[in-house]
């Protein structure tokens, strides 16, 4: 019976502690933030690569317009969701500068995805070649950023 009482107190204390700490915004540790950032950058890079492949296929007349539009809308949505998810994570102090760089690059990438979607919906086919080039450059810089983020700030290439 005494054991049960101790157990009940422990459970109550855990619930209260969880409730109190759950109310405060948490700061993830460095590794956790790097993991989140790497995933977000990787997801946005995937969306950018998908948009590029779709636009290239469309230039070669391999894709119906409705399909291209659906792929671009999805790419913009998934890229935007990944960027938003990271922007709501509090970066640790040591990563604040890189966090700002990551936010900037993700914002540029999602902006480019939006631009591509607008061009596709508007049937602005003259823009496709330029968009493909810019998407390719953006994907490549995001992939470099993803590699850099796997190491702590001082060790990044």
């Amino acid at each position: 019976m005494e054991g049960f009482s101790v157990l009940a107190r422990l459970v109550a204390a855990t619930v209260v502690a969880a409730a109190l700490t759950g109310c405060a915004p948490g700061t993830p540790d460095e590794d956790s933030w790097r993991g989140d950032a790497t995933r977000a950058v990787g997801d946005v890079a995937s969306a950018v690569q998908t948009a590029r492949i779709a636009l290239e296929a469309s230039q070669q007349d391999h894709l119906h317009h409705a399909y291209l539009q659906a792929v671009l809308v999805d790419a913009e949505r998934t890229g935007g969701l990944a960027a938003d998810a990271l922007s709501s994570v509090q970066p640790p102090d040591i990563e604040r500068r890189r966090s700002s760089d990551v936010d900037d690059q993700l914002e540029q990438a999602t902006g480019l995805l939006q631009e591509a979607r607008i061009a596709v919906v508007a049937h602005d086919t003259g823009e496709y070649a330029d968009l493909v080039d810019r998407l390719e450059r953006t994907a490549s810089s995001l992939q470099q950023l993803e590699t850099d983020l796997e190491a702590p700030p001082g060790d990044a290439r």
Partner: protein
């Protein structure tokens, strides 16, 4: 000659009907990230569904009763209820994913948001379940689903490094930038996608709907042991296509539109048109099968009159169940929940529910009161036991791996 055509038709529909939204999405995701390093899991999963589908088909042909009609009688109402709840939850989740999959596939053609298409798709599914003849539904959707063979042609046209793909397949060569927990998570997801519980519900109940007899056992076995493995080849082709197009770019696959892109790259508009038709037929066929499976399971557990061969007024509770689950699926999808996410969750929970589905089949298939001389032989029992162990491992590991890897993130 008639017999030959009947067997050929059965095999073709088994191939075309094998792939559903879970196979499409999971194989495409795995191909992009892990190439063919999980190809053996697909093969093991396909052999598993063959083993248990043959057992449940044999039960239907010999006893003229669906397997789960017998589970409650053989194992008692408590075990029967556990079996019903576990399998039903997964089948319902799969039903939602399939209806969402049809809407997503149509969205690729009409540029209308899938949420707006969901009520139309749900209505179409219900209409097919209400009006279409069983054989017509199975044969037409199965045959049209064969257009997914375009993925095999596309893979050939993409001219992959066959040596590398083959080596990945045989040596389970995981890409160095992926972790073993992620690899294991996708292994469980692929296994769950191949062995989805509804497939055996539908197969055994369908056998009763089509009045299988003992003489039909050979045809049934040919359908299972030729049709299902060839259907499994389509899964490997889908994974191969995304491995070639997305793998080198380190890009992940998160949407149905991405699944079809490699076909467009390889074969252009015509190939893509076949792929989209295949998506619609595969998901619509599976939506009908999962919808019917929910009705079959509930009606068989409670002892109601069931089946498409019975007039709706004589099987009113069965048809009411179909209406309710269709409305429920529609209501959940119109909230805007991502059907791809539902699919990802459904294949993992399918792995969790596998023992609840497959253990009772093994018990019933060993009962001479129901099967007489057609009870399981040594081979069927040996394979069944091996698969029960594999299923136990997958079911135990599924949730921890899902949490640990954040759904393979």
């Amino acid at each position: 000659m008639k017999k030959f055509f009947s067997v050929a038709l059965g095999i073709l529909t088994a191939i075309g009907g094998f792939v559903d939204i879970g196979d499409l999405v999971t194989n495409a995701q795995v191909g992009a990230r892990l190439g063919w390093s999980l190809g053996l899991v697909v093969m093991v999963g396909v052999l598993g569904i063959c083993v248990f589908a043959e057992m449940s088909g044999r039960v239907a042909a010999v006893s003229h009763r669906a397997t789960f009609d017998l589970v409650r009688e053989r194992l008692g109402p408590r075990v029967g209820l556990l079996n019903l709840l576990g399998s039903m939850a997964v089948t319902l989740l799969t039903f939602i994913a399939e209806i969402g999959g049809v809407a997503l596939a149509i969205e690729l053609v009409v540029s209308v948001h899938y949420v707006l298409l969901v009520p139309l798709v749900a209505g179409l599914v219900w209409l097919i379940l209400w009006k279409a003849r069983f054989s017509l539904m199975e044969n037409v959707l199965g045959l049209v689903g064969l257009s997914l063979i375009v993925f095999v042609v596309a893979l050939w046209q993409l001219d992959p490094d066959w040596g590398h793909l083959g080596s990945q397949l045989v040596t389970v060569d995981k890409p160095s930038d992926e972790t073993w927990p992620v690899w294991s998570y996708y292994a469980v997801a692929l296994f769950g996608a191949a062995l989805t519980p509804y497939e055996v519900f539908f197969f055994s109940s369908g056998g009763v709907e089509e009045h299988w007899q003992v003489e039909d056992l050979t045809t049934m076995r040919l359908n299972v042991f030729i049709g299902f493995p060839l259907g499994g080849l389509l899964s490997l082709a889908i994974a191969g296509c995304t491995a070639v197009v997305f793998g080198p770019l380190d890009a992940s696959v998160d949407t149905l539109g991405q699944v079809g892109l490699p076909v467009a790259v390889a074969l252009g508009k015509l190939g893509l048109a076949f792929a989209i038709i295949g998506f619609v037929a595969a998901t619509l066929g599976a939506a009908c099968e999962t919808g019917l499976s929910t009705g079959y399971s509930i009606a068989q557990y409670f002892g109601w009159q069931w089946g498409k061969y019975v007039k709706p007024r004589d099987a009113s509770r069965f048809h009411l169940t179909l209406i309710i689950v269709t409305l429920l699926a529609m209501a959940i999808l119109v909230t805007g929940v991502d059907p791809i996410l539902v699919t990802e969750v459904s294949v993992v929970f399918s792995a969790v529910a596998l023992p609840l589905t497959y253990f009772p089949i093994l018990v019933v298939a060993n009962d001479p009161d129901y099967l007489g001389e057609h009870v399981n032989g040594r081979l069927a029992n040996g394979l069944g036991m091996i698969y029960l162990v594999l299923i136990g491992v997958a079911a135990t590991a599924a949730i921890p791996l899902m949490i640990w890897t954040r759904m393979g993130a």
